[in-house]
């Protein structure tokens, strides 16, 4: 009697992408925030070249984390505004499929912002960020941020102080992701030997899987009364 799992997942993903392509609501806000953040950090660290080199991965990941919080908030609020989440819950669908659809949409949008940040960071900080390993860390890090972020955004969207609450709830929980991503990125751009930092992407992968499984199975309880 339930609608097929993947049919629901891709229907939600397609709907979110179509709405975003039309309004560019998330991309414009997140992109502008990311751009301003990287430029401000660039000016702030301009005098000390050495500090700038060691701080670049922190700058990138803090920017990605805050941009994703902005995006996740808006993405879930768009479901709450006209009661659309009720319309999704009225359908005979697996709640986990709704999560996966929303998560994939958020992941793609945040990834796009992250991908724009790399050439921008390269240009402003004069450090080569466009490297295959940095790209992999970016994908893994954003995967973790988006999965737990989608779940938390669904929880906080039901509250009045949703904007502040998501940051407060999300940042401590994504600390392992941010820590592993920053350490791995710093080591990669410093050209350290792979055996010195390969543990960090492995930790990221494990944390991503734990977050995904956790969110996948708890999303139904979170969004229903």
């Amino acid at each position: 009697m339930k609608t097929g799992f993947w049919q629901v997942t891709f229907a939600v993903l397609r709907k979110d992408m179509l709405a975003e392509m039309r309004s560019r609501e998330l991309l414009s806000v997140m992109g502008l925030f990311a751009l301003l953040s990287v430029i401000i950090f660039s000016f702030a660290l301009e005098l000390d070249r050495e500090a700038r080199e060691t701080a670049i991965s922190g700058v990138i990941w803090v920017t990605v984390a805050f941009a994703s919080i902005i995006g996740l908030n808006r993405s879930m609020n768009s479901e709450r505004e006209q009661g659309n989440f009720d319309a999704l819950l009225l359908a005979p669908v697996d709640r986990s499929a709704l999560f996966l659809g929303k998560f994939l949409g958020n992941f793609l949008v945040v990834l796009l912002v992250g991908l724009v940040l790399l050439p921008l960071g390269t240009l402003l900080y004069n450090i080569t960020l466009i490297q295959p390993w940095v790209l992999l860390i970016l994908v893994l890090g954003i995967f973790g941020l988006s999965s737990i972020g989608t779940l938390l955004a669904a929880m906080t969207a039901q509250t009045r102080a949703r904007d502040a609450l998501l940051s407060i709830a999300m940042l401590p929980i994504v600390l392992p992701v941010l820590l592993a991503a920053v350490r791995a990125t710093t080591s990669i751009i410093s050209n350290e030997p792979i055996e010195n930092w390969i543990t960090w992407p492995q930790i990221l992968l494990v944390v991503d899987l734990i977050y995904l499984v956790l969110c996948f199975f708890t999303f139904g309880f979170v969004i229903e009364e």
Partner: protein
């Protein structure tokens, strides 16, 4: 035991929020093609009842059966039998009317071969064929409500629920919504409409049910209430809180007065 002819059957339904009972031991049967107007003051439990039937919230105790399927045990099957129109549009403003309906058709697993024809027919039924490719955010509130009805009817539900559908509509838009509701009811659709607008309720409903403090205090055929008398019947029912007696009930008021 539920009435075997009933499309919707509710037995001993209780809903409690933070130790406050919102619905108390409610029993109700709705027959095929009934159009039930659900009336009552704010906080009487109308919206809670509709949200329970729709499976959006879970009962504290009691059973809800729709088309032979039980909630919450067979929630997915029950959800497939329900359509809901709320005071919110439940539509995506950045999608066109057609894109909204295509999205919900996918959610309800409508076969691809039938999808386009069904969507075209529903847009025609609610008078929005010409605006099929317009973004929903450009629609007036009345147009959004009519599109909401099309969305709710997409999967041919057994029961259509309206939760304050007239909220925020001007007279013309409300009259237009009446027309769509009446036309949909003439097609044999079973409906429940919660509203505060007594005249509108009497115009569209075949049965009037008044809730007060979580109990059914009046359940009567709309035809049995003389024109323009609903307001006084309503006032009496609320004042007496469950001791209204009438010789021609549509179905017995199963809830005893406390």
């Amino acid at each position: 035991m539920s009435d075997s002819s009933a499309v919707l059957s509710i037995r001993e339904l209780v809903k409690v929020y933070d130790f406050v009972p919102v619905l108390r031991q409610l029993d109700l049967d709705v027959a095929q093609s009934d159009c039930v107007a659900l009336l009552g003051p704010n906080g009487s439990g109308k919206s809670t009842l509709l949200r329970l039937i729709a499976g959006l919230i879970k009962p504290s105790s009691g059973t809800i059966e729709i088309g032979g399927w039980q909630m919450p045990k067979e929630a997915a099957a029950v959800r497939a039998q329900i359509g809901m129109v709320s005071h919110q549009s439940l539509l995506y403003g950045n999608l066109t009317a057609r894109e909204n309906l295509v999205f919900f058709a996918r959610m309800y697993d409508l076969p691809k071969s039938e999808r386009d024809d069904r969507i075209a027919a529903l847009l025609e039924q609610v008078g929005l064929s010409r605006r099929a490719e317009s973004l929903v955010r450009t629609f007036s509130r009345g147009m959004q409500q009519r599109l909401s009805i099309a969305r709710a009817l997409l999967h041919s539900p057994h029961v259509l629920l309206f939760d304050e559908p007239y909220s925020g509509l001007d007279q013309d838009a409300a009259a237009m919504l009446d027309e769509v509701i009446l036309r949909t009811h003439q097609d044999g659709q079973t409906m429940m409409i919660s509203t505060h607008l007594l005249e509108r309720a009497q115009r569209v409903a075949t049965r009037v049910m008044i809730l007060n403090r979580g109990r059914v205090v009046l359940d009567q055929s709309a035809a049995a209430i003389a024109e323009h008398q609903l307001a006084s019947v309503y006032a009496r029912a609320i004042a007496d809180n469950g001791v209204v007696k009438d010789s021609t009930p549509a179905s017995p008021v199963t809830e005893p007065a406390s």
